[in-house]
């Protein structure tokens, strides 16, 4: 059973269309991440699911019931806000019971539920405090507690971690994942952070300019991005886009990077069938799919690689890996390699490209070939 279904959804503010024909489905218990840059419409979409914004056309269904015209309180949802939106004059306990109070749940049940959720989130010592007396992480927990006491059909998260510092964000991220695994409710999670989306979601919806670009599992989004936007947005550092041409060799078709020495890089024939000799393409390689040629790392896994000369301009050591700002055939490229193997800036070194992981895009439509 699908717990959330969005059909042909459009939303306009006057003449401006902010959501263009969105179709989305979430199975019961699924964790869906809506991800995209600011202004892509992801928060508007969440507000529409919550019932805080009206629908221009199309349908929103929660557990097979059309809820287009239902008030937020009748949709049986709970939401965690980016600002937490804790009621400032109420204690933590009152913040958590307010929703139950509005639904006329008896006092004994309220107390029991608060105890259970407070224990789950380890916020029992905070129940008597006001939001102003809590730290950012504690407020975050209380905001989640307020959602959890309601036991709704759908959890909505609106960038819940973006106000936390980096370390706390990573901690809370895994807490949310753990929580989702134990509670098992369908969750829609809005974020602009692709790492949050990758780590938490069972499926990711990548949005850009009001259009749903791709809706798939994290693995599929990462490995076979539907277009150059998705390929560039997901993954850090970004995927490299090199302008190239298709050329034929004895073993089939290959890619030639423009401006280089003309080396043909063989393309796995089973994945790209529609290529034509001489066609202009965008050749996409993720930074981590380069490895120093002499290590022969990919070959040992039985993959085809081609080595290309890479000129390193600058390096950025992060500790666990080193990012190399470099040039391949005169085109800018970013590579990632192990710190010990990193060449010094100014040096040219041969790097092997794992050809099973590459992506090819059309130069005009920017779609995956």
């Amino acid at each position: 059973m699908s717990s959330l279904l969005i059909r042909n959804l459009r939303k306009s503010y006057g003449a401006v269309e902010v959501l263009k024909n969105i179709n989305l489905e979430a199975e019961s218990g699924e964790f869906v991440a809506l991800v995209g840059p600011s202004g892509c419409g992801k928060s508007t979409l969440l507000s529409i699911i919550a019932g805080l914004e009206s629908v221009t056309s199309g349908e929103v269904l929660i557990e097979d019931r059309v809820v287009n015209d239902e008030a937020p309180k009748d949709r049986d949802i709970a939401m965690v806000f980016q600002s937490y939106a804790l009621y400032p004059t109420m204690t933590v306990r009152q913040n958590m019971t307010f929703g139950m109070e509005c639904r006329n749940i008896d006092k004994a049940t309220q107390d029991k539920t608060v105890q259970r959720v407070a224990a789950l989130l380890q916020i029992e010592p905070l129940l008597g405090r006001k939001p102003a007396q809590l730290s950012g992480g504690q407020r975050q927990r209380v905001a989640m507690g307020r959602a959890l006491v309601r036991d709704p059909k759908l959890f909505l998260f609106d960038e819940p971690l973006s106000n936390l510092d980096a370390k706390l964000r990573v901690e809370m991220r895994s807490e949310i994942k753990k929580l989702h695994q134990s509670v098992g409710r369908t969750t829609v999670y809005v974020t602009h952070d692709q790492i949050e989306a990758m780590t938490l979601a069972t499926r990711i919806a990548v949005m850009h300019q009001g259009v749903l670009q791709q809706y798939d599992t994290p693995k599929a989004i990462y490995e076979t991005p539907a277009n150059m936007f998705v390929a560039g947005f997901m993954g850090s550092p970004n995927m490299n886009f090199l302008s190239a041409k298709i050329a034929s060799t004895a073993d089939g078709l290959g890619v030639v990077v423009n401006g280089g020495d003309g080396t043909v890089l063989p393309v796995p024939a089973d994945r790209y069938q529609s290529l034509e000799n001489g066609q202009d393409v965008v050749f996409g390689v993720r930074p981590e799919h380069f490895s120093p040629a002499h290590e022969q790392r990919a070959e040992r896994k039985g993959r085809t690689t081609v080595s290309v000369p890479v000129t390193v301009d600058m390096d950025e050591p992060t500790g666990s890996e080193t990012i190399l700002m470099s040039r391949i055939a005169g085109q800018d490229a970013i590579l990632v390699c192990e710190p010990d193997e990193a060449p010094t800036p100014g040096e040219t070194m041969d790097f092997a490209i794992d050809m099973s992981k590459i992506s090819l895009f059309d130069t005009k439509s920017e779609l995956r070939l």
Binding site: A50, K73, A85, P88, M90, F98, R103
Partner: protein, 299 residues
Amino acid sequence: MAEVSHQAYDPLATGSKTQQARSRGIVYVLLTFFALLYLSPLLIIFMNTFRPLDEIVREGFISVPDSLSLKYWGEAWGSFCIGGTCEGVSRYFSNTLLMTIPATIFSTALGLVNGYALSKWRFKCDAWVFGLITLGVFLPAQMTLLPWAFVLGQIGLSNTIMGLVLVHTVQGTSFTTLFCRNYFVAVPDDLIKAARIDGAGFWRIFRRIMLPLSPPIVIVCVIWQFTGIWNEFLFGTVFTSGENQPITAAIVAFSGSGTGERHYNVEAASVIFAALPPLFIYVLGGKYFVRGLTSGAVK
């Protein structure tokens, strides 16, 4: 308006010692001078309440009392004759209380609801509604005299305290709506959204979320309305007469009453009586300009 921030910055704390002493000296001399200037009318009136009439006539209006007597205070409060009734200002004092307290409560309550609806439940043409309500802030009271006279006559509230309550409630709602709306605009919308998802409706959100955040603006409205309505003269003197007048109108009626002789000492005491409640409200309420009630709502 409700936010009063106290900065720790002291512009006189730097510079050489002599420079500091000189600038401090200038500041305090000026402050003392203006404080005395503003206090002098109150002081002169206050001193006159203790002086017998012949002493005032003999020594002039501005002078230190030779003897202290509370007799004129008593006379002003309970037995002096104004316009035929000999009950002093006590009757008019209670008239004004009966007018000011309900009008303050009603206009503040209406302002809170208006401000809440206009800032948090946006509807079509809400900007127009807000504009029309606050138009009252800019209209001179004299312009509304005739319409009000007509309305009060039609509904049978001419020459009643109730009529004045109605006038001041409606006139005051313009101000309180403006204050409350601008205060509530700063309350994060996410609180309202969260409460709506929690299942609360219009009134529950108002009662449980907005009202607990409102004390600073309620204090502002109450001080503004109470002092404004208490000190109001025009409507009081036009729409009421005789024993239904508020204290401001009654005090003016002093000069034309009795034997024609001016009882400066009793008048002075009456004026002090009339001025005490607003002063009291101001001193009491000024302390409650609470800050930082919304802190913690949003990071």
